[in-house]
């Protein structure tokens, strides 16, 4: 049945994170971006909300909450609203954790998940590759079976938290066939032999989130660390959770920009009256609001298919297409409302444009 009803728990989380985003994250976002560094206290405060460990079984020290892509979408929108860079730093470990929750063998779960039930712990996923026409269905990084191990070769780029992650979930092709179904994931510690990790030069958006390039020169991974063991994983499901994660953050950025532009347009006087009384500005804001609504329902629709256990590939593609176009447009128009003031790095408008631009190109950097 069609319903937009949140569960009571979702409503509670949503309210809590609305406050956290508004009171804790948003006021620091501008400085954090400028400094390209995230202070430990906000990281700790965010981590202590227990979002990453929420779905880790109680037996392993987690909260044992139900795995819900809808709940994740709500969480990530709110965090993205507060600050996409802080959100990424707190939640990028979900790129490692959620797939293990979803697909990990019992052994993999008990070996790795408890890392995330205490203090802040960084882990990440290595997915992006260096070429411009990269697409996840057509990866160059390969894993070949060699006796009891897998041997990984290839280069991964733009790995978030790559400088601090203890482990990476490395996405690679194990067969010759293209397509999401033929994707595999491997758990690789940062000190694996043959793995070279290099700091990267920086990115347009999500500036404070340091990224790394990972070069795999015949890195040997024991068979037990292939995610899902012999069964492997549902590649479509994995990629869809990653795609929707970034989309949820981008939506949050767009909504933040919209909510920031509205009072400005109401109060800022030019040509003798508030600029919001000019239809050109008013209609821009109206479309920004409508776009945010549309994006959220598209996100939820795809997430609800994941939630129902359906193949959400088509709905995810549609949601990503919608959000990639609209989130960027919204952020870009929000800047326009502020004119020259939006171009200066004092207000967060230009940061939101860079963050929206970056999030709408990445796969990830978080997972629903």
């Amino acid at each position: 049945m069609i319903t937009f009803e949140l569960t009571e728990e979702q409503q509670l989380i949503s309210d809590m994170l609305t406050s956290f985003a508004r009171d804790e994250m948003a006021p620091k976002a501008r400085d954090i971006d400028e400094a390209s560094e995230i202070p430990q206290d906000i990281l700790t405060a965010g981590w202590d909300l227990g979002l990453v460990s929420a779905t880790i079984p109680e037996a392993l020290g987690g909260s044992g909450g139900e795995r819900s892509p809808i709940t994740s979408a709500i969480i990530l929108e709110k965090l993205g609203y507060g600050c996409a860079s802080i959100a990424t730093s707190i939640m990028a470990p979900s790129l490692f954790v959620q797939p293990i929750v979803d697909f990990g063998t019992d052994d993999q779960q008990s070996e790795y998940l408890s890392l995330f039930t205490g203090d802040y712990h960084a882990a990440s996923m290595a997915l992006q590759e260096p070429h411009f026409t990269f697409d996840v269905v057509d990866m160059k990084t390969t894993a070949e079976k060699n006796g009891d191990s897998w041997v990984i070769n290839g280069v991964k780029r733009l790995v978030p938290l790559g400088t601090t992650a203890s482990h990476f979930l490395v996405i690679a092709r194990t067969g010759k066939d293209k397509g999401l179904a033929n994707i595999d994931a491997f758990i690789v510690p940062r000190d694996a032999k043959g793995l070279t990790i290099e700091n990267e030069s920086g990115t347009q958006g999500l500036k404070p989130v340091a990224t790394s390039s990972l070069t795999f020169d015949s890195v040997e991974v024991p068979a037990k660390d292939r995610l899902g063991g012999d069964a492997g994983i549902d590649g479509r499901r994995l990629i869809n959770t990653v795609r929707l994660g970034g989309a949820a953050l981008a939506l949050g950025v767009a909504r933040a920009a919209t909510d920031f532009a509205i009072p400005y347009a109401r109060d800022r006087v030019a040509f003798g009256e508030p600029i919001g009384k000019k239809q050109s500005i008013a209609f821009m804001l109206s479309d920004m609001h409508s776009d945010c609504e549309a994006m959220r329902w598209m996100l939820w629709k795809a997430a609800s298919q994941l939630e129902n256990g359906d193949d959400a590939t088509k709905a995810t593609t549609l949601a990503k297409d919608c959000i990639n176009r609209l989130a960027l447009r919204v952020a870009d128009n929000a800047l326009q409302v502020f004119g020259g003031h939006g171009y200066i790095r004092e207000l967060p408008l230009e940061m939101w444009l860079r963050n929206a631009r970056t999030l709408t190109l990445l796969e990830g950097p978080v997972a629903v």
Partner: protein
């Protein structure tokens, strides 16, 4: 828990509605070319389909709520281009009667088809500029004025007319009156010829000293506010827009959906199909365009469902209704246009019906308030400006 799946019984109902619409497509081109004719109340093919009402009884309490489901029905029906096989009683005026009429009035006119007549040559979206007047003369109201764009204005049995009883009062002075066909002074000036929606009869009226009983004031004498009482009645009328805007939006989204489906099917026949897993760089331009068309259409559909779902929950949906109407107004224009882009020159030929989507769909960004009016409403709400402050 958030969900967008549709139950088996609902899918069954939607499938029948689609089949019915498709069955009517054999008559579509004829009525495109014969706009002067009014379609029969019933075509032979109607007997092949059980009444939707009987199917609706199978729905359970756990199904998609009523107003939300109505939107799906409208979209599904609009996605086909077939003429209506069996015309049901009722017009837009019936909705107004249901919302604002007294029990007695509902009993008296409920079974008739009533049109709704608001627009005037000098007042489109600007309803407070209405010039038509109603003055009380003894036990009769006397109506004067010109009206245009009256939907079902030819075949209706009566009409709900907006007129002002007190120009100085502005919106508060505007009342609705029921006028029956045949009343002296009620003239049908013409049937309009239109770009599309040609089986919908659109009339222009003129009222010249048209006298109707005092009881024909919708809502009865109570609806005329006492001095200083404000415009509760006018707001009541506006409130009905909260479902009509999503409903009209649903019609526009349906046309977009229909154009998209038509295009997908036709291209599939010529070997073009979206591979949902293909890399972006491995998609043809047509495949990518189909994805964007579907994303836009889906997004618009969801805003419609959202607005209706809020109504189902008894929550305010004024902004959401306009969001859905503005999004529906966008896709009813762009999606049929893009479908024809993908289908090329042959799509303009009358050999095919796909060109009708563009013409029929185009109205959805105009009536019940243009996209511009919707954006004004949204902006006023989010900015906290009154209609005087932002106009």
């Amino acid at each position: 828990m958030v969900d967008f799946s549709i139950s088996e019984v609902d899918n069954e109902i939607l499938a029948q509605l689609r089949a019915e619409g498709k069955a009517g497509e054999k008559y579509t081109r004829y009525y495109e070319d014969h706009e002067e004719e009014i379609i029969p109340k019933k075509f032979d093919e109607a007997d092949d389909f059980p009444s939707i009402m009987s199917l609706m009884k199978k729905r359970s309490f756990d199904d998609t709520p009523g107003a939300t489901f109505q939107m799906l029905l409208i979209m599904q029906r609009a996605a086909t281009l077939g003429v209506t096989l069996q015309t049901r009683t009722g017009g837009l005026g019936n909705a107004a009667l249901g919302a604002a009429g007294t029990d007695e009035q509902k009993k008296k006119w409920g079974g008739m088809t009533l049109a709704m007549s608001i627009t005037e040559p000098g007042a489109g979206s600007d309803t407070k500029a209405i010039q038509s007047t109603a003055r009380l003369d003894g036990d009769e109201w006397v109506i004067n004025g010109d009206k245009i764009f009256v939907t079902t204005g030819i075949r209706c049995e009566g009409v709900v007319v907006w007129a002002t009883v007190d120009k100085a009062a502005g919106r508060a002075g505007i009342k609705s009156f029921v006028v029956m066909k045949g009343t002296p002074g009620f003239n049908i000036v013409r049937k309009e010829k239109k770009l599309g929606i040609r089986t919908s009869d659109t009339a222009a009226y003129s009222f010249e000293e048209c006298r109707i009983p005092r009881e024909n004031l919708l809502g009865g004498d109570e609806s005329v506010p006492k001095p200083g009482q404000g415009s509760a009645s006018y707001k009541g009328v506006l409130k009905t827009f909260n479902m009509t805007r999503p409903a009209v939006a649903a019609g526009g989204v349906g046309k977009a959906k229909g154009a998209l489906e038509w295009c997908v099917d036709a291209l599939k026949d010529e070997g073009v199909e979206v591979d949902w897993e293909a890399s972006a760089h491995n998609r043809t331009s047509a495949q990518q365009t189909l994805i964007e068309m579907e994303a836009d259409t889906d997004a618009a559909a969801l805003t419609v469902l959202r607005a209706a779902w809020l109504a189902d929950k008894g929550q305010p949906n004024n902004v959401e209704a306009s969001v859905s109407k503005s999004k529906g107004g966008d896709v009813c224009r762009t999606v049929p246009q893009r479908a024809m882009n993908l289908l090329g020159a042959m799509s303009v030929s009358h050999d095919h019906l796909v060109e009708v989507y563009l013409r029929d769909g185009r109205i959805s960004d105009i009536y019940e308030g243009t996209g511009q009016i919707q954006r004004l409403i949204i902006a006023r709400n989010i900015l906290g400006f009154s209609s005087a402050e932002l106009s």
